[in-house]
C-alpha cells in the first residue's frame, strides 16, 4: 500500500486545474454584473406599488401580467383615491417602514416635502448605468420640464415623470358659431368673447372655471402667466405684486360677470358638468378632461368641442403645468426591482397606451408625434395638437414649497372672497402677508 502525501507542487497544480475549471462558472455568475441590460435580472421578486385612483392605475393593472412575463417580477398594486394616497404616503414614509416599494405622486404637491425629508432613493447613478437603464427607455425624450420636476434642488434625480397636465381652453364651437365669435388669442379678446357668449336667459355662461377655494388657485395662476409671472421668487411670495393684482381683477371680472351663478363653489367637476351639458361656452382646465368631454354616454357636446392654447396676456404667454411621477422610498427592500417596474410604467410603450385611452399626456414627445398612436386616439387629434402646442408654453402653476396645500387654501380663500365682492388688491395683500411667515418657517425647519 503506497502512502499518499500532499506536496507543495501537487497542491499548486491542483489549484490551477480547479481554477481553470471554475473560471467559466464564475463568468456565468458575474455575467449580470458585467453584461448588458436584462429585464429578467430581478425575477422572482415582489414589488408593492401604491397608486392613486385613475386611468393610469387601471392601465397598470390591466398590463401587469405582461410585465410579469417580461421581468419575472410580481406586482402588488394598491389603488386608493388621491387625497387618501397623499396622506398615506406622507405618514408611511415618515414612519420609516412604508408598505410600498414604489408609488406615484404629484410633483406640485409633495415634491419639496419629500426632498426636504430625504425620504426618496437617489436614482441618479442608475440612470447612467447601462445594466440598469435600457436604451429603449429613451430618457432624452422626456421633456425638460419633466426632468426638472424629477430633479432635486441639489441636482439629484429621485423620481421619474409619468404624466403631465397642461392647462388649455375647451370651447363650444356651436355656441361660438351661433354668436359669430372667433376663438380668442389674447386675454382681452377672451373677456370680450365671454361677454358676447354669456346668455343667462338661455342658461349659457360665457365662461366657466374653478371658483372653489384651493382648486381655484391654478386657474388664477394660469391667468397670472399672461402677466409673465409665477407665484414665488426664491422663497419670497410675489402674489401681491401689481401684476398679480391685475390678474386677480381679471379673474374676478371673468368669473363674476360671465361665469355661472354659484361659481364660487365650482371645482373642476362642476365646471366640467356644465360644459358637457352645453351650458358654458369656454372652460379653462387641464388636458386630462378631454376623454369624458368626448364620451357620447356622458356628454352632450361630443363633436362640438374645440381645443385651444390659453390666450396670451399683456406681458406673457404660458400654460401652467402640473406633473405626476413615480418614486422609490429609501426604506424599500426591493429598490432595484422597483426601479425596473418604474421604467416599465414610465416608459414609451405605456405612455402611448395612456395617450390612446385619453388618460393623460406623457412628459414624452415621441408618443404625441407617433402616427400609429395618434391615429388610434379615442379623442380628436386637435386635442393632441393643442397639448403639443402647450409644451413650449409650459410654466409652473404652483410654488415648489412644502406647505403647498396651505398656500392653495390661503390664496384660494382670497380668490373666493373676490368672487363674493372683496377687493382683489386687499385680498391678495392680506393672503400674502398671512402666508409668507408659513413659507419662512417651513424653509427654516
Amino acid at each position: 500500500m503506497s502512502k499518499m502525501s500532499i506536496t507543495r507542487r501537487g497542491a499548486l497544480q491542483g489549484a490551477a486545474v480547479l481554477g481553470g475549471l471554475a473560471a467559466p462558472m464564475l463568468n456565468t455568475l458575474t455575467a449580470h454584473a458585467q453584461g448588458a441590460f436584462d429585464w429578467k435580472r430581478f425575477k422572482g421578486q415582489n414589488v408593492e406599488v401604491l397608486m392613486e385612483t385613475g386611468p393610469r392605475a387601471d392601465l397598470m393593472k390591466k398590463y401587469q401580467k405582461e410585465f410579469l412575463d417580461q421581468t419575472g417580477i410580481t406586482l402588488g398594486i394598491e389603488v386608493i383615491p388621491e387625497q387618501q394616497a397623499r396622506q398615506k404616503v406622507a405618514i408611511e414614509l415618515n414612519s420609516g417602514k412604508p408598505s410600498f416599494d414604489l408609488f406615484n405622486f404629484a410633483f406640485h404637491v409633495q415634491k419639496r416635502q419629500f426632498e426636504k425629508a430625504g425620504w426618496l432613493h437617489d436614482l441618479t447613478p442608475w440612470l447612467k448605468d447601462p445594466q440598469m437603464m435600457p436604451a429603449e427607455y429613451e430618457l432624452e425624450d422626456i421633456s425638460k420640464m419633466g426632468m426638472g420636476f424629477s430633479t432635486t434642488s441639489d441636482g439629484k434625480v429621485n423620481a421619474l415623470p409619468i404624466l403631465c397636465d397642461y392647462f388649455m381652453v375647451y370651447y363650444n364651437k356651436e355656441l361660438f358659431a351661433k354668436k359669430n365669435v372667433t376663438f380668442p388669442k389674447t386675454l382681452d379678446e377672451m373677456m370680450v368673447a365671454a361677454e358676447k357668449l354669456n346668455d343667462p336667459a338661455a342658461g349659457v355662461s360665457g365662461f366657466v372655471g374653478r371658483g372653489v377655494r384651493n382648486a381655484n388657485v391654478v386657474l388664477w395662476t394660469q391667468l397670472l402667466s399672461g402677466w409673465g409671472q409665477e407665484t414665488i421668487k426664491g422663497t419670497k411670495l410675489i402674489t401681491d405684486s401689481p401684476d398679480a393684482i391685475a390678474s386677480g381683477e381679471y379673474y374676478k371680472k371673468l368669473l363674476s360677470n360671465y361665469g355661472p351663478k354659484g361659481v364660487v363653489g365650482f371645482n373642476w367637476n362642476e365646471a366640467q358638468g356644465l360644459f358637457m351639458q352645453g351650458k358654458a361656452a369656454m372652460w379653462i382646465d387641464a388636458t386630462g378632461f378631454a376623454a369624458p368631454v368626448e364620451d357620447k354616454q356622458k356628454s352632450r357636446v361630443v363633436g362640438k368641442v374645440g381645443y385651444g392654447l390659453p390666450p396670451s396676456g399683456p406681458k406673457g404667454h404660458g400654460s401652467v403645468t402640473f406633473g405626476t411621477g413615480m418614486a422609490i422610498p429609501k426604506a424599500s427592500a426591493h429598490k432595484e426591482a422597483a426601479f425596473f417596474t418604474m421604467l416599465w410604467m414610465t416608459g414609451r410603450a405605456m405612455a402611448g397606451r395612456m395617450l390612446q385611452v385619453g388618460g393623460g399626456v406623457p412628459f414624452r414627445s415621441a408618443p404625441l408625434k407617433d402616427p400609429a398612436i395618434i391615429s388610434t386616439l379615442s379623442i380628436p387629434k386637435e386635442w393632441a395638437d393643442c397639448a403639443n402646442g402647450c409644451a413650449p408654453l409650459s410654466m409652473s402653476g404652483l410654488p415648489v414649497i412644502v406647505p403647498v396645500t396651505e398656500f392653495r387654501d390661503t390664496l384660494g380663500t382670497a380668490l373666493t372672497n373676490m368672487l363674493t365682492g372683496a377687493d382683489p388688491g386687499a385680498e391678495l395683500k392680506r393672503a400674502t402677508a398671512e402666508f409668507q411667515p408659513v413659507i419662512d418657517k417651513s424653509e427654516q425647519g
Binding site: 414614509l93 425629508a117 372653489v212 377655494r213 351663478k261 365650482f266 351650458k279 412644502v402 372672497n417
Partner: protein
C-alpha cells in the same frame, strides 16, 4: 358602650383584612383588561396631549413649545370662525331634527292603515351611507343642473345657490342633516311613546282634557327623558359632523362652512401640522365633554320621579 364599639370595629377590620386576603390572588386577572384599556384609551390621550405641546410638522424635527399651539389657536381667525360655524351648525342640526322627529313620532304612534310601511320608508335615510348620500345631495344642489332648483322653478320660486354661496351653505347642509337624522330622533321618541302608561290619558279624557293639554301635561313630561337621550346623542353627533360637510362643500365656499372637525382634518392631513391638530383635538374634546356634562345633568333633572 365604648368596649363593644371597639370590639365591633376590630371585627370589621378583621373581616376587611380577610376579604382583601381572599381577593389578592384574583387581582392579577384585572391586569389584561387594564393593560388593553390603557394601551387603547389612556396612551393615545397622553400622546395626543404631548403632541399638542410640540411644534411638529410631518417630515421635520419636532420642538417642545409648551402651550404655544393653544395660544396661537386663541388668536387664529380661521379657527375662531370654525368654532362659530360649529356652534351654528350644531344648534340647527340638533334642534330641527329633534322637533321634526318628535312630530313624526307622534304621527307614527297613531294607528292608521299602512303605518308599518310608512315607518320603514321614513327611517330609510338613516340607513344610507353618509358619504353616498352627500354625493347625491351635491348633485342635487348644483345651481344649474341640480334637481332642487328645477323643483323651485315648478312652484315659481327663484333659483337658490344652495351650498355654492357663503350665505346659504350652512342652512343647505342642515337640510341634509334633517333628512339624515330626523328618523333617528323619531325612533327614540317613538320608543318612549310606546312605553307610556295609558291610565293618565284615560283619566284626562274623563276630566275633559283637550288633545293639546294631554300632550303638554302628560305626553311631554313622560317622554322628556327619551327626548334628552336623543338630544345628547344628536348633539355629540352634530358636533362631530364631518362627512356631509367635507364631501358636499369641503368647508367652503372659502371657509364659510368650515367647522372645527373640518379645520382639524385640514391641519392634520392636508398641512401635516401634527402639533396644531393635536391642540385642536384637545380643545374640541373639552368642548364635547363640557356639553355632554350639561346634557347629562339635564337628563338627571328630566328623570321620572
Amino acid at each position: 358602650m365604648a368596649g363593644g364599639d371597639i370590639a365591633a370595629g376590630a371585627r370589621i377590620t378583621a373581616t376587611k383584612a380577610s376579604g382583601e386576603r381572599r381577593l389578592r390572588p384574583y387581582l392579577m386577572f384585572i391586569w389584561p383588561a387594564l393593560i388593553v384599556s390603557s394601551a387603547l384609551i389612556v396612551f393615545p390621550w397622553i400622546f395626543t396631549i404631548w403632541m399638542s405641546l410640540q411644534d411638529w410638522h410631518i417630515g421635520s424635527a419636532s420642538k417642545f413649545v409648551w402651550f404655544d399651539n393653544y395660544t396661537n389657536l386663541a388668536s387664529n381667525r380661521r379657527f375662531l370662525e370654525a368654532v362659530g360655524h360649529t356652534m351654528y351648525f350644531t344648534v340647527l342640526a340638533v334642534f330641527l331634527p329633534m322637533v321634526l322627529g318628535t312630530w313624526a313620532a307622534l304621527v307614527f304612534h297613531k294607528k292608521f292603515a299602512g303605518r308599518g310601511f310608512y315607518r320603514t320608508l321614513f327611517i330609510m335615510p338613516m340607513m344610507a351611507t353618509p358619504v353616498a348620500v352627500s354625493l347625491i345631495w351635491t348633485m342635487m344642489f348644483h345651481p344649474q343642473l341640480g334637481v332642487l332648483n328645477y323643483l323651485l322653478s315648478l312652484v315659481g320660486l327663484p333659483p337658490s345657490q344652495w351650498v355654492f354661496s357663503p350665505g346659504t351653505v350652512i342652512p343647505s347642509l342642515i337640510l341634509v342633516e334633517i333628512w339624515l337624522w330626523t328618523p333617528f330622533c323619531m325612533i327614540i321618541v317613538l320608543g318612549g311613546l310606546a312605553s307610556l302608561p295609558t291610565e293618565p290619558y284615560e283619566a284626562a279624557l274623563i276630566d275633559g282634557a283637550s288633545q293639546w293639554q294631554m300632550f303638554w301635561k302628560i305626553t311631554y313630561p313622560l317622554v322628556l327623558p327619551f327626548l334628552v337621550v336623543a338630544l345628547i346623542m344628536r348633539t355629540i353627533d352634530a358636533l362631530k359632523a364631518f362627512e356631509t360637510i367635507w364631501v358636499i362643500c369641503n368647508g367652503g365656499p372659502g371657509t364659510s362652512s368650515e367647522t372645527m372637525n373640518v379645520y382639524l382634518y385640514a391641519q392634520a392631513f392636508a398641512y401635516n401640522q401634527v402639533g396644531t391638530a393635536s391642540a385642536v383635538v384637545v380643545v374640541f374634546f373639552a368642548i364635547i365633554v363640557a356639553l355632554s356634562l350639561v346634557l347629562l345633568w339635564a337628563r338627571q333633572k328630566a328623570k321620572w320621579n
